[in-house]
């Protein structure tokens, strides 16, 4: 019953998302494109925070590195090849996550949070204070990558609808990929590490290696999101790597409910949706957002994804009495 309901929810949500471009409203198509990108970003962080128990406060670094790679590796006045740029950008994010992971995973708890933040700030200042990526002004991705394979072009990222479906397809792929990984022996070990790392070690697991694998994978998937962000907006600034972004994606995960992939997606949509609404009301939107998040953490500690179970329990409780 529960699994059925969850599957139905996912299929209905997917169908609804697939219908968005039919509205013809390019504003909404772009807004939801951004939400989908952030959903990928949030799922990649949830692998660390919700499933492995690693609270990274520097996840924007891998998002930003791939975004910059998309802009810097593209020819200046010509379209780059999507099928080379995407793996290249994601590979660079994965590499950065692997190297940084080698260091940060030697720490635990509050130190881990601080050290991931410190590395992300270093990456931020590399782009902010050096001319590599246009300094604090950022850099334009002038021409969107081309999806052409030989002479055949399956879709055109310059077309908002095509771009939307490409991003949606990648979001679904990342979801299916992570869902599968979490079912694997590797994924079970990650969840075991979150539950009781000491016990995993005493059963013979070299947990450092597993955590490094998870950190690298999360960095790579965060890179997928960053790459798509650069393609979507055609513009990259150092702010993409700032600790504000690391904090925002962490809030998306918490909002949706940690350790739940659908929750991460819902959290990303809710966060970006609220941001849009509050921004249209006042420039002090962060004040409102802060209030909502405090209220949610207080009254719904399991996040939005725990809402259905809560409602069901409330209904059953009502019937029993």
């Amino acid at each position: 019953m529960n699994a059925h309901a969850s599957l139905i929810f996912k299929l209905v949500a997917l169908a609804a998302l697939a219908c968005v471009p039919l509205s013809g409203e390019s504003f909404y198509v772009e807004l939801i494109s951004k939400m989908l990108v952030m959903a990928i970003f949030a799922m990649s962080l949830d692998l660390l925070v919700g499933f492995t128990g690693l609270v990274s406060f520097g996840h924007a670094a891998y998002f930003g590195i791939a975004a910059y790679a998309a802009a810097l590796l593209s020819p200046k006045y010509d379209a780059g090849n999507l099928w080379l740029l995407l793996p290249g950008a994601v590979g660079l994010s994965a590499l950065a996550a692997f190297v940084i992971g080698l260091f940060v995973l030697r720490t635990k708890g509050i130190y881990f949070i601080m050290v991931t933040l410190a590395f992300a700030q270093m990456a931020y200042f590399v782009f902010h204070d050096t001319p590599v990526g246009g300094g604090s002004d950022g850099i334009y991705l002038n021409v969107k990558p081309s999806a052409a394979i030989g002479g055949w072009e399956p879709f055109d990222l310059g077309n908002g609808t095509h771009q939307y479906y490409f991003i949606l397809a990648l979001m679904v792929l990342v979801y299916l990929f992570l869902a599968r990984v979490l079912q694997s022996p590797f994924g079970r070990v990650l969840v075991g590490i979150k539950s009781n790392e000491h016990r995993m070690q005493s059963m013979g697991y070299l947990t450092y290696r597993y955590k490094l694998g998870a950190f690298t994978l999360a960095g790579a998937l965060g890179g997928v999101a960053g790459f798509l962000y650069a393609v979507l907006f055609g513009f990259v600034t150092p702010e993409l790597l700032s600790w504000h972004e690391s904090g925002n994606v962490l809030l998306m995960v918490i909002l949706g409910g940690m350790g739940n992939l659908v929750g991460a997606v819902v959290g990303a949509f809710a966060f970006e949706g609220m941001r849009g609404v509050f921004e249209s009301w006042t420039e002090h939107w962060q004040l409102l957002m802060g209030g909502v998040i405090v209220a949610l953490v207080l009254f719904l500690p399991g996040g939005l994804s725990s809402l259905p179970a809560r409602i069901r329990r409330a209904l059953q409780g009502g019937e029993a009495k």
Partner: protein
């Protein structure tokens, strides 16, 4: 799995010393664990038993001394590496994955013997060998009727049995068990003693235990520790007859009971 020779020495610790700053928690402790034997570490609180078992399991590096396993020097190995060579341990405070089912707790232990971390697309629940192994170990530890229970809701005694099942699933040749009977009722205690006797047949066991009746019921060798030092080591009859032990430990214990 061959049973091997009985009384074959598996684990040997020579002159282990552990200092915490100026405090000497263990001084010159030498113990052996042989297949087919149960070796019990006995001593009052603060005698250094847990420090000793932590050094044997790799949770704590010794300040001095050497540890060998089946002739191989393992002094420098971490806890995870020692688990891989065949030393399993359970903890004084129950140390399980409380959100997981009994089966998943033990399946994870079984999976540790053939980890294949790169197979990220295969299903963990599709690894029949690990599931079969887990079920067999759960049965062996006497938890067969709790396979699908969430382990956090088990009774204390059942959680101790689960710990044993997890250690068994790692194919451990040496079991280091820190107070497996602590907090158990007499019924559960008796079952655990039977289990320990059964396990002894094919493995070597080192036990830290307070329950005197149980200790004398299962021990082949007893080492008595006081203030971080070895007071006496030998078969139960020798320990029972020892004047030094009676003065240091059993005497006070009995005066409590009388």
């Amino acid at each position: 799995m061959s049973a091997g020779n009985t009384n074959e020495v598996l684990l040997e610790a020579k002159k282990l010393t552990r200092r915490f700053g100026g405090l000497v928690a263990n001084q010159d402790i030498s113990v052996t664990v042989a297949r087919g034997m149960i070796h019990v570490l006995l001593g009052p609180n603060g005698a250094g038993k847990s420090t000793c078992i932590n050094m044997l399991s790799g949770d704590l590096p010794p300040s001095e001394g050497a540890i060998t396993f089946m002739g191989r020097d393992i002094t420098g190995l971490s806890a995870a590496q020692r688990s891989r060579v065949g030393i399993g341990r359970s903890y004084q405070r129950t140390n399980i994955f409380p959100q997981f089912t009994v089966l998943e707790n033990v399946r994870l232990a079984a999976q540790s013997r053939n980890q294949q971390p790169w197979r990220i697309f295969s299903k963990a629940m599709g690894q029949k060998w690990a599931l079969d192994k887990a079920r067999a170990c759960i049965d062996e530890a006497g938890l067969g009727r709790r396979v699908d229970w969430v382990s956090g809701v088990l009774s204390h005694g059942e959680q101790r049995q689960l710990e044993i099942a997890m250690v068994l699933a790692t194919d451990a040749q040496v079991l280091l068990l820190d107070e497996p009977l602590a907090g158990m009722g007499s019924d559960e205690s008796a079952k655990m003693v039977e289990l320990l006797k059964k396990l002894r047949a094919t493995r070597g066991i080192l036990l830290v235990e307070h329950d005197m009746d149980a200790v004398f019921a299962v021990a082949d060798v007893i080492t008595v520790m006081v203030n971080g030092q070895m007071l006496e080591s030998g078969p139960p009859e020798q320990i029972r007859a020892s004047v030094a032990v009676q003065q240091a430990y059993l005497g006070t214990e009995e005066s409590f009971h009388v």
